[in-house]
Symmetry: C2
Subunit: 237 residues, 2 copies
Amino acid sequence: MVSITEENYLKSLLQLRLNKGKEEGVGTNELAEYLSIKPATANDMLKKLKEKQWVDYEKYGKIFLTKKGKKIAIEVLRKHRLWETFLYEKLSFTWDEVHEVAEQLEHIQSIKLIDKIDEMLGFPEFDPHGEIIPKKNGEFKIHFKKTLDEIAIGESCKMVSVNDNSTTFLQYVVKVGLGINNTIKVLSKQSYDDLIEIEVNGHISSVSQRFAKNIFVICKNCETSKTCSNKHFEHTD
Amino acid sequence: MVSITEENYLKSLLQLRLNKGKEEGVGTNELAEYLSIKPATANDMLKKLKEKQWVDYEKYGKIFLTKKGKKIAIEVLRKHRLWETFLYEKLSFTWDEVHEVAEQLEHIQSIKLIDKIDEMLGFPEFDPHGEIIPKKNGEFKIHFKKTLDEIAIGESCKMVSVNDNSTTFLQYVVKVGLGINNTIKVLSKQSYDDLIEIEVNGHISSVSQRFAKNIFVICKNCETSKTCSNKHFEHTD
DNA sequence: TTTTTTTGTTAGGTAAGCTTAACTTTATTA
DNA sequence: TAATAAAGTTAAGCTTACCTAACAAAAAAA
């Protein structure tokens, strides 16, 4: 049996790990800060999680999820992101409203329920924030999100979300011809005025650094690309 | 703030009250039994609920929900029944599967969520078990469920559910011309062989006591009818 | 290298929700 | 009405998940 609290610890360990790319292992204080609890509390729980073989660490050392622990964490993350998608797609919640409710819904214990929700949504790949949704079988290839300005010249990427929900910005996004799931190729970058030349659907336009920083993308084929500096997460221990 | 445990206590007090018609007030042991906890535990919690003014009782006396407490309990019951309907209607859960999951979902704190689910379902009146769903405004006129054999001669009622889900029985139900929401009028009862003569959609048939005991109905206009022995629940204290 | 800061651990304590065991009050029935 | 049974209460104790305060280890800076 996994308690709701335990699920939250495991999920947080996974998320902290995902937020930092190659550098592995999470610290006690870091975890405590993330969960808004005191380090002493986190330390107590970590002992318990270690005993249950969901995490592994040495005294004063970094904390790692075990294979079992990672499996649980990925399942919770899957539920969270599917519920967010459900709220957004089916119940017209806004981006900023979905998280709080999904934090509760992610702990509902019913495999059938979440699989049915998955089915109802058409087995979506990404949630409303552009985050990848783990598959039922635990498959979870992480493409760390980047902003458009981080993409190298010649590289292609896929737009997944935006970092600015103002009407002004969103209207500009539409004007440039951009939208969720569009493939964007970075053609060139002007060092003089920092403009980025991009190609979307065969149409070429130039955007500013400021604009590009508000466009979230994931790398295309970043596993094979040499120029891609993306960070990968090994989900198969 | 209402904890999940507190919500369950209040909901159970309401349900126990509903299950017994006129006889008001619930006992400590009765409540404990219903919640599968020990009377001592229930007693502790009841003190807390009294302090929060959600229940009222005197030492060694029967327990009553206050107006505030009843409001919370009705909200939880509303959520429970709407979630059951959602699972049944939208995710093709079966009758026996919905309850367990709804027990968890009923505690999700989001007014917007449950109102949107209500809307998605077309503001249903009854859940898959034929139980009435309280309205958003707290309106909750209880028609205690009866079985068809309890209906007096000359009285009309509405079929809401069945107590036997076997294929044999259900096929028989269809053959007799019965279905959910049908209005049934009891024409006569034969004392010799206990057959009940009913009228459904202008069609007259006779059914056995055994059959009638498996048909759940609610009284029509039972508030005004003198012959109706139905029990009423005052929801406006 | 020594000092200081950061990070992690231990010990003792609290509140919620549960338990058992012993007891009191109320209700039943002989 | 007195004995017995049922219902309700109290007290002491457990577990989970949190806290503060004091301390130890590791890392960073002087």
